[in-house]
Each structure stands twice: as structure tokens, then as C-alpha cells.
């Protein structure tokens, strides 16, 4: 029997300076994802919070549906929906205080909207307009990040900078299961732990990286277990239980705010829609699997809890659905207005000031626009 086969069988005297840097036991996640809805513990939850979560879930689901419909109408270039994952999106946004920062991935448009970003501006990137569409400082939401996991070190740096300045700011960074395989995931968690930066990492484990399932992504017991290797607590939560995700994230945010350092939360959920409207999910998974998860729907779970406890009635449910329809109608109407882009802006914000080469190129484009009688040419003289 080798050392690998039987840990503890070989106990040499440790090298002179060796000691464990931290006790791993409290950092380990529970064996099962944490649940609240449908359990006795749910009785202690704030009814107002549950109603807020529910309203956001219902509107969020409708938002995902409407945005996907807009891709079919040619109004959005692409939309990576978070259908089925709304509990993670909503809870992440609501777990933060006003002064905190959210670092979303490209699938987290909904979290940005719940945090207060205008739903149309949140879709600027995805409709083929400019790359961000909003000033990150306005709602303290970093730009939706496309290169996987690269936003995670940004969250660490920002939270670290805020702490150095003595500001009370926590950063919450979202990443998918696929993103955890990127090197930046590792580097961000390591920096955060070494610096004890006030950051909460939320792994939204939706089961797929486009088509690649979890088994081909990781051999770890869970993503939450990875936290132990960095010396931070890892927590595992049912990602479709909005109350549970909200509670776990809120505790992690409080812990970070109090100077306790970073934490890693894995929310186990499922991507009900395909990767994007351009993807065909039937090539890599069965309808039966999807149905299993539809039976564990985040809206149904919360609606069941609210109904059982008499916290909502049919009128209340109808009112939330009507609010969601109004949101969708507003989105439809505003997204059908074509954005006006000025081609001469291509040369702005490359640098603080245009270089001589960019001035030459701007002049060339201006002349081309003038020759074609297109707008944009006339304003250029003022720049």
C-alpha cells in the first residue's frame, strides 16, 4: 500500500520550519448544497425579502425571454440567457450594498439590471452598439466581461485598492463553471487570499461550458472545495434556491466587509436555454435532463414557499407577472429604436488624445463619409 493509497500511513518527522498555514476544516464546504426553501429554517426568513426576490425572479425570467426573442427579430446580435439561473443573478445583485462593486461575466446581464442598470443600456454590447454602454462608476458595475475569468483579478485589485484607501467596499465577482479552468481564476483567488481582499467569488455552476459538461471540466469534489487550496472558506449552495443563495452570499459579503477576507461560493444551477441563441443544445444533452431541472425551477420553489406561508395570493402573483410584462413591453419598444452611432467616434477614447496617425485616419474616414453623403462628416471639424 503506497502513501497515495493510504494517507496517514507514512508519518515522518516534519521538516524543521513546517507548520500548517491554516486549519483546513472550517474552510471546507458542506457535502450537500445548502437549501432554505421548503425547510424549517425558511420560517425565519424576512417575508419582505422573499417578496422582493420573487418579484425580481419573475421579471428576470421575462427579461431573459424577451431578450432571446429580440435576437430572433434581429434586434440583438447575440444573447447568452440566464434562464433557470435567475436566482443566482438576483441574489448576487441584492447581496451587495450601494457602495459595493459587481463584476459580471457576459451571462450576467440580469444581475446588472437587478443592481439598477437600465435594461436597454445593459444590452448595448449585445446589440452590436459600443462595447459597454454604461459608465461602470454609475452603479459600480464593471463592464460585462467576455474573456473568461479575466474580470476576477480586476475585482481583487479594486477591493484591495478600496481597502488601502480605508473605504468600506466589497467586490462580488461572478464566473461560470467553465471559467474556473482559466488561469486567471487561480491567480485571482490566490491574490485575494494572500491580500485578504474583501472579495466574494460566485461560481455559477450551470453544468455546461457551451457544450462541455462538468465531468470534462473538473475532477474536484466541487468548485467550493477549491477554496481550501487558497486558504479561504468555500460554500456550496443550491443555486435555484434564491433565499439560500442570498443568505450565503450576504454572509460572505458581511464576512469580507468585516475584514475576514475573501470567500468562494458555488451555486449549483442549470442552464435551461442553450449557450446563446446561436447554439443548439440538443447536440449535447437530452430533453429528459432539462425536464429534471425544470422541476426544480427557482421561481416555482420560491412561489411554493410564499404560497404555503400565505405571503402571496393569486392577485399578488398576477401583479408580479404584469410588472414583468410591462418591463418586456418597454424593452421591446426601446430596442426597436435603432441606436445612432457616429463613425467619427471610432477614433475617440483609443487614447486620452488622438495620435497624429489617428488624426490622419479620422481625416480619411471623414472624407469618405463626405463623399458618400453620410452623416458624421460635418461634425468632425469641431473635434
Amino acid at each position: 500500500m503506497t502513501v497515495l493509497e493510504q494517507p496517514g500511513s507514512y508519518r515522518p518527522t516534519p521538516p524543521p520550519a513546517w507548520r500548517p498555514r491554516t486549519d483546513p476544516a472550517p474552510l471546507l464546504p458542506d457535502a450537500e448544497p445548502y437549501r432554505l426553501l421548503g425547510t424549517e429554517a425558511a420560517a425565519g426568513l424576512d417575508p419582505g425579502l422573499l417578496r422582493r426576490l420573487y418579484g425580481h425572479l419573475v421579471r428576470g425570467r421575462r427579461y431573459n425571454g424577451q431578450a432571446t426573442a429580440l435576437t430572433r427579430q434581429g434586434r440583438l446580435a447575440v444573447y447568452p440567457a440566464s434562464t433557470g439561473q435567475e436566482a443566482c443573478e438576483v441574489a448576487a445583485a441584492l447581496a451587495l450594498e450601494e457602495q459595493d462593486w459587481l463584476f459580471p461575466s457576459y451571462r450576467d446581464t440580469l444581475a446588472a439590471v437587478v443592481r439598477g442598470l437600465d435594461p436597454v443600456r445593459a444590452l448595448t454590447l449585445l446589440r452590436g452598439d459600443w462595447h459597454s454602454g454604461y459608465d461602470p462608476h454609475e452603479h459600480r458595475i464593471a463592464p460585462l466581461c467576455t474573456p473568461l475569468a479575466t474580470q476576477l483579478p480586476h475585482a481583487v485589485g479594486l477591493a484591495h485598492a478600496a481597502r488601502l484607501k480605508g473605504d468600506d467596499v466589497v467586490a462580488l465577482a461572478m464566473v461560470g463553471d467553465g471559467g474556473t479552468s482559466e488561469g486567471d481564476f487561480h491567480e485571482a483567488l490566490n491574490f485575494a487570499a494572500v491580500w485578504q481582499a474583501p472579495v466574494v467569488f460566485l461560481v455559477v455552476n450551470n453544468g455546461f461550458a457551451i457544450s462541455v459538461p462538468l465531468a470534462k471540466q473538473t475532477a474536484a469534489p466541487s468548485f467550493a472545495h477549491k477554496a481550501v487550496g487558497y486558504g479561504m472558506p468555500g460554500r456550496l449552495v443550491d443555486g435555484n434556491d434564491a433565499a439560500a443563495v442570498h443568505q450565503v452570499l450576504s454572509e460572505a459579503v458581511r464576512h469580507a466587509r468585516a475584514g475576514g477576507g475573501p470567500a468562494l461560493v458555488e451555486a449549483v444551477t442549470y442552464r435551461i436555454d442553450a449557450h446563446t441563441n446561436a447554439d443548439d443544445a440538443t447536440r449535447y444533452r437530452t430533453d429528459a435532463e432539462v425536464e429534471t431541472w425544470r422541476a426544480h425551477d427557482p421561481i416555482d420553489l420560491l412561489e411554493g414557499e410564499l404560497t404555503r406561508r400565505g405571503l402571496i395570493d393569486d392577485d399578488g402573483i398576477r401583479a408580479e407577472r404584469e410588472a414583468a410584462e410591462r418591463l418586456a413591453a418597454d424593452l421591446r419598444e426601446r430596442m426597436h429604436q435603432d441606436p445612432v452611432l457616429d463613425p467619427m467616434e471610432l477614433f475617440d477614447h483609443v487614447y486620452a488624445e488622438r495620435t497624429a496617425q489617428l488624426r490622419d485616419q479620422a481625416e480619411m474616414l471623414r472624407a469618405e463619409l463626405a463623399a458618400a453623403g453620410e452623416p458624421g462628416a460635418e461634425q468632425e471639424g469641431a473635434r
Binding site: 459608465d135 474573456p147 480586476h154 485598492a161 478600496a162 486567471d184 491567480e187 477614447h349 486620452a352 495620435t355
Partner: protein, 346 residues
Amino acid sequence: MMTTAVRAGRQPATMAQALRRALRDAMADDPSVHVLGEDVGTLGGVFRITDGLAKEFGDDRCTDTPLAEAGILGTAVGMAMYGLRPVVEMQFDAFAYPAFEQLISHVSRMRNRTRGAVPMPVTVRVPYGGGIGGVEHHSDSSEAYYMATPGLHVVAPATVADAYGLLRAAIASDDPVVFLEPKRLYWSKDQWDADRPEQVPGIGRAVVRRPGSSATLVTYGPSLPVCMEAAEAAVAEGWDLEVVDLRSLVPFDEETVCASVRRTGRAVVVHESTGFGGPGGEIAARITERCFHYLEAPVLRVAGFDIPYPPPMLERHHLPGVDRVLDAVARLQWESEWTETNPGGR
């Protein structure tokens, strides 16, 4: 220790001392300036450029990071988002490659992506280039990669005064600057007053280091001393060479370069970086486009060979030297007609 730089009046000073003083003065003037990198704290950096900074400003201002370049630059992005002015040290040119995704996908584009709302005042210091007998991965000239990325300024000082002035300008810039420090010039000396550093032109301005009338040598960074030496040696051959030090590759000072070439009618671009796909191709093309009717000869390039950086025992054959520069000058059609049989041809 800082004491080496604190002396009265103009004294012999090394480029390393000027760089250290620039970091120190920038940190003293602006509390938002933070230095971070591998070994920059207690050790003072492997080249000692950050020596004394952690002691003077504390570990929070000059921070030894975990050994991960993408993490260093990625966290610097977040720090810049929050209003700090990070100065990142990449330990060696070839160790900067893990940070490329952060540099290209975020540092260079964040201002553009956010339409000016989130600038990236990040300075990335890169000890670069060969000639120090370094083993593999310690001698790369990686400027062409950076030049090809819109949104980055690319700066390479060649003198002690420029090392100080350009690094101060880089740190003060609201744009990201890749600051290439020619490591074989770290110990080169000039007369320099650390307490009253001379004003130098800003980033984006080239400087004529040696006026001349026969031909223009266009160069930057570690190749400047080579070109200056070549220009002196050329006097014996009857050539009066002008030497233009670009100082920054981006922005590129077309005006100064073209004004010189229009005067001399001939140009050779000299750099250590590979010739194929290297900066010299872009510079030669621009000179040709702007100065065609003034040119007496094709613009030539003297560059490193198109090979992975060679082992130290062979690097003297790879690096552009005085003889190779003079050979190129000899090929600049001094007779009325260009001939392939020119003896200087290589």
C-alpha cells in the same frame, strides 16, 4: 539605498539610479502611485530599480506580489478602476507574456470600451533586450507585440535623463504605457543632477541625438549607443550621419523622423528586435510613404536575425553592432545607381 542618488549637482549617474529616483519622486508626489511586482519590495527588484521604496513608502505602496504576471496586471486593472496609478514591474521581457491577455483585452481597451469613463493609468515596466549574457527567456525584444496593440503607448529610453523624464511622464499619463527599460543600459552613465533632473521632451517626441547631413539612423533604446558609435566611426569614411532617437514607438513621431530624412535623403532603421514583422518595417514604410521623392536610396533595416533569441555565447552575432550599421550605410547608393554587387551588401 536611495542615498546613492542624493548628491549635489551633475554627477555621473546610471540609468538604474535615474529610474529608481523617478519611481521614488512619483510616489512622493502622488499617493495614488503604487508599485507592484515580483521581488520589488524587500529585495528591491532583481535589478534593484525599486530598492528602498518599500522601506520609504511601506509594503502597501510597494508590494511583493505572488509570482503570477496575469494576476499582477489583472489586479492593477482593478486598482486603476478605483483611482490608483499602478506601476507594475515585469521581471524580464519574456516573463511578461502570461500577462498578455490582461494587457491586450483589458489594459489597452478599457478606456475605449467604456467610452472614456474608465481610463487605465497603468505603467508596465519591462526590463528588455539582450546583451547581458542572459540565458533563454531573459533577452527578448518584445516591442513589436506591444506596438501592434492600439491603446498602448510604447516607450523606450536610451539616456539617463530620458529614463527619469520618460518614466515620470509614463506614470503621470492617463493612458497605459509599456515602459521598455534596456537592461544592458541599466549601468550606463551620464552626467545627471538627481535633485534637479533636466526637463526632457514628452512621450511621443523623437530627438535628434547627433545632427548630420549624409544619412539618418533611426533607432531607440539599447541600439542608440550603437548608432552613436557608428556615426562617430563613419566620419572616417566621409559620412556625416544624423542619429534620431525615437524615445517612444507609440506614439510615433513621424514629423521629426521625416524632417530628418528629407534633409539627408537616406535612412537606416536600427533595432534589436527581429527584422521580419519588427518595428523597422513600419518605420521604413512610413518614411517611404512620406519622403519618397526625397530618398536617394531604399530605406534599409539593421535588425536582429529572424531567430529565437540566441544563447549568450552567440548573441554578439545576433545583435546589431557598429560594423553592421556601417555596412548598411555603405549600401545606401552613394554612387548614381544602385547595384546588387555593392561590397557592403549582406
